[in-house]
């Protein structure tokens, strides 16, 4: 009933357009996004009508007898990604449409300048489809590392947290099909709960400039979206199988999309991954297996006037944590650091034993948009996420199979925005967000809660605008306000409460005194402002200069406020601080780019000054009956990060191309004048590729990655070792040596039913089986990193 009313309404609006005097002409020109060459043979249709045109040799097309007002064009080309273009007709109108090459067809020409465009002035990079296919069997973090300026904070090989220009965790937002992930990103050993295969369009905004997604992205935003679905009657799908020698397993991912000319579409996707124990060059890494399952399902309808989508995704992972990294106290840690080999090496197995993590993430979304003629487009979205995390430790007796950590994080968000784009050259968006989050820490674990029960309320309002000053200059800017309330119920040990001085500063929040424990009710409000502004200036042949300033504030996360307990996996006591307030970042980023088809480069320096930067680092030692433990405390300081990301590519001949990247970042604690902890080391990667479209699209690439030794790190701490009965230096901050890795990749494609619908690829990483340890891998104290891995990938498109 409801839909028929909407339909009626749609017809009415449609008729009212037709009733106008319609004499306008649309003259269009379609050019290649990258080199401005005309694209012929592109089909252009006006959505909601049967009007269709095909572009000429010169890339031109036209429609006559159109009404004034806003229309939407769907532009499709056999070699390109279909694109929807909104045009305001006002008399006879000329429009130049830049069509992006379909990324899969890019194999003959190397194009790095395939920039995403979530912001115009900020530094942003997009993962190519080719790279996505190469990393289909790995994690999101592994794939993103192929972008310059993106590194990762690992716990072993399977828990990979993206680090953007030196910053990670809550400072990096992840947008999964328009939904901001709420998956306990606060923990260093918590990886994003997304299947890399569920979204094909993945880009990274470096910094806080993409304000519409959140005001607290001091590190950056990772935006994952599905590829747009073309409005035709079609049924297509893709299956990729990856097999790995290291881990003796692999994964399979498969998707199927049914679309209709009416705009209706149904899409399903599933992935399964299973790996056994991984191997370093010299020994097996016991209990490093992984099992992952992912499902996504989408149904929606896309029309010019309105559209809706229902989306559900489920991601489940069971990840083994290196057995040798589970240790007892500081003496065990010293012993592990000094010993060259892990203290536990078992036979290869697919079984995952303790310690391990099991995480399940459900994400559901309903969205709707409607276009108002002569005004703009209104979007509304509701989403719900449920993240359940179990962490299992090595325990004894009745508790052996009980989780040590059992958290359930449920988040509801309602967001809406209105995009005013009817005025040519100006694109303005205003939006609102409301969010409620509840965390429940199950007490049945028999272990004191690391993160307490809490309710969190967020409210945000933003406006972002993009203004095309001239053909060459685009200005963009935005402003956002966020309110957050954290309302927690937390137990403190009385001894800890007093040691932290909370009895003096927070005496009023105690609601129950149980003798050795106190129940408290901290309620904190945070008011945060963020703002951004910048420009993009195009000049010469395919050159552009971007400059962006962004100011962002981030409220502390639950871990920074409330952490209070022993982490067995790292043999450390982690302490949050109730006094922590929001941190504020001021970042200036510039990038100079050239994107010609024969060569191009990007030079992107930045400086990020963060006041009240929240940092976790080893500070002291506490004694228990089990021995001494290093204490890692959160504190705030003023920090300065300066860095540069640079890349250059060259297509030497039509067959040979090369690609070179360099990133470097320097982090300084301004207050103590010491280096910041966990800042990625400088690294250089070089690759050379040979492609030949006449030999089954053969593509062979050799990749080299050199990671320098991090020379700047905070000082180690000294601890009393009960075993040695003396004070010893705990070597936990010293970075490992520099290392160099080679990778080889080869791929060919065959035509079974359609052109190039079947691909086979072989990839070898750590080709020389080099033993190395990485500074940003938390398991570097215990074991070497991964040895050689030879993988086979099979891709079927149908």
């Amino acid at each position: 009933m409801k839909s028929s009313i909407l339909l009626l309404f749609a017809c009415f609006v449609g008729n009212s357009i037709l009733a106008q005097e319609c004499k306008s002409i649309l003259l269009g020109e379609i050019v290649d996004f990258h080199d401005n060459t005309p694209l012929s043979g592109a089909t252009v249709s006006i959505t909601g009508t049967s009007l269709e045109a095909v572009s000429t040799e010169a890339g031109k097309f036209n429609f006559t007898g159109l009404c004034d007002g806003v229309i939407e064009l769907e532009v499709s080309h056999p070699d390109c990604k279909s694109q929807f273009v909104i045009i305001t007709m006002k008399g006879d109108t000329y429009e130049k449409i830049r069509l992006e090459h379909h990324l899969e067809e890019l194999e003959e020409v190397k194009v790095i300048g395939d920039k995403a465009n979530n912001t115009k002035s900020a530094q942003e990079e997009r993962l190519s489809q080719i790279d996505l296919q190469k990393y289909s069997g790995n994690s999101l973090g592994d794939a993103l590392k192929s972008l310059s300026g993106v590194s990762s904070l690992n716990t072993g090989a399977n828990i990979v947290k993206p680090v953007i220009q030196g910053l990670n965790g809550s400072r990096v937002l992840i947008l999964n099909n328009g939904v901001r992930m709420q998956d306990m990103e606060w923990g260093e050993e918590h990886a994003p709960n997304v299947d890399i295969n569920s979204n094909q369009d993945i880009s990274v905004v470096k910094g806080a400039a993409a304000l519409e997604y959140g005001g607290d992205a001091i590190g950056g935003v990772i935006i994952m979206n599905p590829l747009p679905i073309v409005r035709t009657d079609s049924l297509f799908g893709k299956t990729q199988i990856n097999l790995f020698s290291n881990g003796r397993g692999g994964n399979i991912t498969s998707s199927l999309t049914k679309s209709y000319a009416s705009g209706l579409y149904i899409k399903g996707q599933g992935s399964f991954k299973k790996l056994g124990d991984l191997e370093s060059p010299n020994y097996l890494l016991s209990n490093t297996g992984i099992e992952e399952k992912g499902i996504t399902f989408a149904i929606g309808k896309r029309d010019f006037l309105q559209g809706w989508e229902g989306y559900y995704s489920f991601f489940d992972s069971d990840i083994g944590i290196l057995r040798a990294s589970h240790i007892g106290n500081v003496d065990d840690l010293i012993q592990a650091i000094n010993s060259q080999e892990p203290n536990v090496i078992n036979d290869f197995t697919y079984d995952i034993i303790r310690p391990n993590q099991e995480v399940a993430h459900h994400l559901g979304k309903l969205s709707y948009y409607r276009r108002f003629e002569g005004l703009g487009k209104w979007n509304i979205q509701y989403d719900y996420q449920n993240n359940r995390r179990f962490e299992y430790d090595v325990r004894v007796g009745d508790d052996a199979n009980k989780a040590s950590l059992d958290l359930k994080l449920a988040t509801h968000s309602l967001s809406t925005n209105f995009r005013l784009d009817s005025k040519k050259g100006l694109d303005l968006k205003i939006g609102l967000l409301g969010r409620y989050q509840n965390n429940f820490a199950n007490p049945d674990t028999g272990v004191r809660r690391l993160i307490p029960d809490y309710d969190r309320y967020d409210f945000g309002i933003f406006t972002v605008a993009e203004f095309r000053l001239s053909d060459a200059v685009i200005l963009d800017g935005g402003l956002r306000y966020d309110f957050s309330r954290m309302d927690a119920k937390k137990f403190y040990r009385t001894s800890r409460w007093e040691e932290r001085g909370y009895d003096v500063d927070f005496g009023g929040i105690v609601i129950d005194d149980l003798g050795t424990q106190l129940l408290t009710n901290p309620v904190f409000d945070y008011h945060n402002i963020s703002a951004t502004g910048g420009f993009k200036y195009d000049f010469g042949t395919e050159n552009s200069l971007r400059m962006n300033y962004s100011f962002a504030q981030r409220a502390p996360n639950p871990s920074e406020l409330f952490s209070d307990g022993l982490h067995h996996s790292a043999a450390r006591i982690e302490l949050g601080d109730l006094r922590i307030k929001s941190e504020s970042s001021s970042k200036l980023a510039v990038s100079l780019e050239k994107n010609e088809s024969s060569w191009g480069y990007t030079i992107a320096p930045y400086v990020n000054a963060i006041n009240d930067f929240i940092i976790l680092e080893p500070t002291e030692v506490e004694f228990t009956i089990r021995g001494a433990f290093p204490v890692w405390s959160y504190r705030q300081t003023d920090a300065l990060l300066i860095g540069i990301d640079a890349s250059i590519y060259k297509n030497w001949t039509s067959n040979i191309s090369s690609d070179h990247k360099f990133s470097w970042v320097r982090g300084e604690d301004k207050t103590t004048e010491t280096p910041l902890i966990n800042i990625p080391a400088a690294n250089i990667s070089n690759s050379v590729a040979y492609t030949n479209i006449n030999w089954h699209n053969l593509a062979i690439g050799l990749e080299s990655q050199f990671v320098f030794e991090q020379q700047r790190f905070p000082p180690n701490i000294f601890v009393f070792s009960p075993q040695q009965q003396q004070e010893v230096e705990l070597d936990i901050n010293t970075p490992p040596n520099a290392y160099h890795l080679l990778a080889l990749d080869a791929e060919v494609s065959f035509s079974i039913q359609n052109a190039n619908d079947f691909k086979i690829g072989v990839r070898a990483t750590n080709l020389l089986n080099t033993s190395y340890r990485d500074y940003l891998n938390r398991q570097r104290y215990f074991v070497d990193d991964l040895g050689r891995n030879i993988s086979l990938r099979l891709i079927f498109n149908y």
């Binding site: 090595v394 007796g397 809660r449 307490p452 029960d453």
Partner: protein, 190 residues
Amino acid sequence: MKTIAKSFKKVSFNSVFAMAVIGSIAVSCSDDDDPVAVDEEEVITTMTVTLTGSGNTITLQSQDLDGDGPNAPTITVSDDLLANTTYSGSIELLNETETPAEDITAEVAEEDDEHQFFFAPSGAITSVDYSDQDGDGNPLGLSFSLVTGDAGNGSILITLRHEPKKPNDGSLADAGGETDIAQSFNVVVQ
């Protein structure tokens, strides 16, 4: 609908915000009860070593009631040891965060193949020998014998390892595993 109306009052937040979080309010209400306190399980707070010899009983105790809280364990030695004496020793482990205290000794005895005490005597304590074995005939250490030498100062480091390599050469380095207890006692032998 009634529950939603009710919950609005309860949350008493500004109404725009309430609209935004309408779907969630039912959840927030159900969790309004205070969380229950967690009593740590399988924590060892107290190790009491009883030494009996020449008609005397001496206890060495390490008690850490706040576990991984900030307070260091309290160490008490009831009396001085006699020179050139053989004591028979036994170890009792308790979790005193629970009332009544939970006896962890029994758990260790039950899973004796996964546990072992290690003794590192020095100074006036000359040697320590195991008096018990696990099911596989490897040493356990819940009971032991301790020999003192001439008068003077001595110390003994007692370590309990979980899942050590068994059998091992008696050194901590060779045994591996995880440390459940590591405590040293300074004693006077006279």
